[in-house]
Symmetry: D2
Subunit: 413 residues, 4 copies
């Protein structure tokens, strides 16, 4: 005895590979299928439609298949409402909870499709009734509260994986993923500059995620210019980034090395501790800027130009600075807010912070990832943003070239 | 007008390179020197002695030189007591505070040399009078309290950088540093096994610092054996390591992949969230072991064999588990305690946690660092333990081979 | 005015991604298409069939599209004979020559489909009439002779890209490509052992491509065992590999380091020059083995067990040995012969030689690529064998584990 | 019974570490020593002098020690003439031959010290009497001819390892070795530009060693400018570099990718074969330039500005071009000539060719090594040039920045 269910695929289901993926899933999981309807998009702009009858040996197998098809964009032909179960305790999910992808997602509740807010992967979906009607939104495990009505199973859920842009034209045309250390570097940087300019023109928000190598490699002044000129709207970094940025302002060194003469002044190894100590004395980075103690750099420009920043603590930090959020959950929540607000993210030489931000991004956000280590770039791009581009290069040459192209090379100025 | 001071060097000052380093420092910093006495160790076991008169143009330059000579093991010939200044506020160091190396250090207080306790780099030294007499110990910046009597300047301080073992014999003879991916792997693993055995025989404590790759690469069962058999006494890791270890116990997967069949069961991507949720429901890892929920693995063996573990949180964590210390400062303190207790440290495929542990280690602790990425191994060894060895290899083959050599290949059994 | 041509797709055209790829090519190149026939394989074992009418603005654009479709397995519905042009001079190809992929390829000549022999990428296809009828085969550029009848254009050519094995069962099921340093190492090695055993059982030939790191990491004795026991049938390496293997036999060192004690005997840096000098004195490696000068090692086992080897020279060689082929073209031809004969290739820690071998392989040959550097593994796998697997691990632990599993762990022996 | 010999050390023997190294060698090899005379250089510019009496158990042990001391710059106090033995056959060295370092070396022949010409490591030293008196020069193993009078043992040989420049001033002051991906990139590039300018001002010769990544990353036009403007005097590369450079001229692509639009034109994968075919048709690169077939690029500028180039073949080449030297020994000899003529070497993104050039360099040649892979940079710098600097960066941003600084930013213009 077999059980079956109808699922539908819509959109660029063939050239996006969606249809092939779905057939593969059914077969890999031991099911079979019949193509009941198939209306092929004959031209570039036409969408296709297919309806499959999926069969499996038992209900459990069928559910596994249908769950996987969901994750890949195939949705039940005859949708029912979503199933909801209350969370049994704080931070505990009900059996069979639906774990999100990072793609745009909809749940069917009382016959209506609700857009799930704050998409992010590995979350639970909570549905709640409010004064303005019902809403659905994601919650990470540690935010789940006893009694939250949590989506379980796969019924009544629609996922829409974005298709990769086929067209190579437009400012974001080059963002078709892939990583290589053997692409023309200047051309790629020019493309990234164009994409940032386009994002700003559309009123979008650019988030820079920065590792301390940005300071060590001498890119500090150019990143500060990008903040000042408004090409970077928000900053996400760790304690070390801010310490070395401020150390450079106070003592001319970064981790004890003079970034202009390349000398190591002999007391240099104390400078980062002094820098932290000075900021603690003032109370905060903003207070140190106001007091005139800190007079230049990336953090300085953030403060005087009112660009919000999040400094997340880690176990290898010295200090830390008073601005650093030492609790990982609290820091993650601050990062989450930034990530949800960003339209474009520049990840500059930091694996830890880039992973943290990337975990919170929906797949529709534009991401540029720059690192000298190809493994870092590959790992970050694997998280599947549809508009992501990786560049294996030196952040110490990348940021100056980018700043030149954005600030001096602005077309039409 | 010049100023001058006498400094002394003692020990294997020539073949350790100390004398050459000191001459270089004086000249680099614009000073000059006269060798007033020089008694050379003519044979292998004889120590040498040199007394230099160091001259500089002014007191500031001289202090800089003498400070640097200190860091490299040259000490004032006519020692005075250490200078002490009260900390002006919590977490604020007095001007000119002495920032520690990770070498054994002594301070002269009321005519006596005090051994500085808990050596660790980038710390302040606090001297306090107690009922059992005076003691000196390190404090990280965030532990400094207003009024702490903190060592400033360079007077009355002796540093003893350990000389690298010249002799290639003995269990630790191979620990002469250096990193290579082109050394004979099995022989190196055999040497590491011998060093662990020797450490245990001496009553020493072995700390394993573990990244999630230990689980992903299938080394979990062999690491669990090493814990069970008593070759690993303490564990330092992140939330992810414990989650994947427990996920493997509960669902047979690690980050969703079956580590035996290499399949990705289709619901696998939920497993790590479920694993966390289950442990939260029980209250802690120990409670989950006691309840019989968790029945195998590294964390299981730690619990049932009473091996203490520290799980430090980070901003990329899912969950986290209730055992994970989410506050970075608190986690660092827990790591610091482990580091001070350890006689030998195995760093297994984790940069973040290894750096955190390494920051707290004195230069006399034995360190073995294993990673597939040569840059990680190099970065960790640069922190200058005198008995450190790096191995660029696959932790998934390293741990099984090590366990075989320790448990099955034990000589004399 | 538009021009058009019919093309056909057959096989697992949807789940292999072929159909999606073809639709994408047509659209990317500015063409359009109508699906004239579409018969979908409804079940796992059924093949599908599609016939497309491809349209473009002019003949040039159409040819470009059709050429690309070819490369991806779509063939003209109404096949004509292949076009042939004589090569205008030695090593010069005619305008519009057809440059091969590494997939199985057929050309239509006088109404018959000829299987193109010695498939390899970036070659020309030569058709010649012989006493046994016509044959088609590849020629690299430097082998092209004036007057060779070379295939031009895209007419009359069929390419059959192998579909990736869907089924995870069977000895080669795990060979579904992909690379990771975070897969369970022992399980992967067990799978590779099974695949080698299966290849031998089928009467296949195993080629090992080896870099000097095999010797430096201490894997020499275990590789020698694999040669002796018949798991490795042919060897491809450079001069350095053989020199260090023989140096180890003569002096107990590899590049001057004792691979057992890890010492560097003080005259060690001369050993590799002496080793070469000794073999030159004897005349060849085989002569040195016969004379009893060389008594163990990989080269020794190759000689006494009659396993053919190719040693290719390079500009960084010392010596070289008399057996080393110093001319790059001649060496490439020797490698080409090995590559065409191999059924399974183990690439062990050498980028240069692995690329050289990989360039000559058809896409149907099984390839296992092992290197500690993920970039090397990725670069080698990108060359597109359908049955290729990459493993980021230490060759110094890999070879011993593989030898143990093959020789001691053979099931049923 | 012990045997002994006097050795002398002269120069900056303490701060260069030479004295420490020598003491270490004696002790490691089981010898002992007495310091018979020691005159310390009290100031920065004064040299030191030491005379040691080295003792060992037997003559063999003593010779081993003395040999090692040689390699590190300690020379017998009472020099005798060098020992010479005839080579027993072509390419065969006599027992006990002296294997060279890459440091300046002198041999004592008939009471006179001869400067050994063409210093290079791992060579034999040949002494011959000529019409202008005796001379000594290096020979690689394959150049040794039967009857050559070859230096054996360690008697009568002086080696002078260059001391590392202590002073940080001057154009080459920054060349104190070390590698880091975390140095300020722009400042380092500025320093390299200054060193090139200084080398040219001194009438020196700059050799660029280039990998194909120079073309792929879009640095071709800027490298061509450097050749045209006379900042690069000679070029060393492989077949692939020249092919992609010419492919870019003829078709606008590099390995099939348009380096400006980043598109892959659909016939692009044939371009490199066509490029080779076209040059073969013309007969050589120079002929193709003269015929107007090749009109731009690095090779073009080399031809029209008469900058000599060496293209060395390898087993992974397509073609190759008629200019490519396919025999490894012949190519090595051509590289050797370039290396001996160069005063400064830029190694740009090629491990194979950089190793080949580096093998032929004396330790006194200035070397700049640029690669995105830190392991490559480390491996190249380990070969011990005294004036070598490594930079982990992207050659696609490095070359344009360097060209800007040299050509546009020339001070005083």
């Amino acid at each position: 005895m077999t059980v079956s269910r109808e699922v539908e695929l819509e959109g660029h289901i063939i050239d996006s590979g969606m249809m092939g993926a779905c057939f593969g899933i059914i077969m890999d999981l031991g099911g079979s299928f019949t193509v009941e309807a198939f209306d092929i998009g004959r031209h570039k702009d036409e969408e296709s439609y297919a309806r499959l009858l999926v069969e499996a040996d038992d209900e459990a197998a069928l559910q596994t298949i249908v769950h996987e098809l969901h994750q890949n964009g195939a949705n039940p032909a005859d949708p029912k409402d979503v199933s909801l179960q209350p969370a049994p305790a704080d931070q505990v999910v009900p059996e069979g909870f639906y774990s999100t992808t990072n793609h745009p997602t909809f749940v069917r509740y009382e016959g209506e499709w609700l857009d799930v807010e704050h998409m992010e992967m590995d979350c639970a979906v909570v549905v709640e009734d409010g004064p303005d009607g019902p809403r659905a939104y994601t919650k990470v495990l540690n935010a789940v509260e006893e009694g939250d009505r949590i989506v379980t199973g796969d019924t009544g859920i629609k996922v829409e994986p974005p298709s990769r842009p086929r067209d190579t034209g437009g400012a974001f045309g080059f963002m078709r993923g892939g990583v290589s250390s053997e692409r023309p570097s200047e051309t790629t940087i020019e493309n990234i500059a164009t994409a940032i300019r386009e994002t700003k023109r559309e009123g979008g928000t650019v988030l820079a995620v920065c590792g301390p190598a940005v300071i060590h490699t001498g890119a500090r002044e150019d990143l500060a210019r990008l903040v000042r000129e408004g090409y970077v709207d928000m900053l996400s970094a760790g304690n070390g980034f801010a310490v070395h940025d401020i150390e450079r302002d106070l003592y001319g060194t970064s981790l004890g090395m003079d970034t202009e003469s390349l000398d190591h002044p002999r007391h240099g190894h104390k400078h980062h501790i002094y820098a932290i100590s000075e900021v603690i004395r003032e109370g905060s980075i903003a207070a140190a800027v106001e007091a005139g103690t800190v007079e230049s750099g990336v953090m300085y420009e953030c403060v005087v130009n009112d660009r919000p920043f999040v400094l997340a603590g880690s176990i290898r930090d010295d200090g830390p600075l008073p601005d650093t959020i030492t609790d990982a959950v609290e820091a993650q929540n601050a990062i989450r807010e930034q990530a949800h607000e960003a339209d474009m993210v520049l990840m500059l030489s930091t694996l830890l912070h880039s992973v943290a931000v990337g975990n919170c991004l929906p797949s529709t956000t534009r991401v540029v990832c720059v690192d000298i280590n190809p493994a870092t770039v590959t790992q970050l791009l694997d998280r599947g943003s549809a508009q992501a581009v990786g560049m294996v290069t030196d952040v110490g040459t990348f940021v100056p070239m980018l700043a030149d192209k954005l600030i001096e090379g602005a077309p039409g100025t």
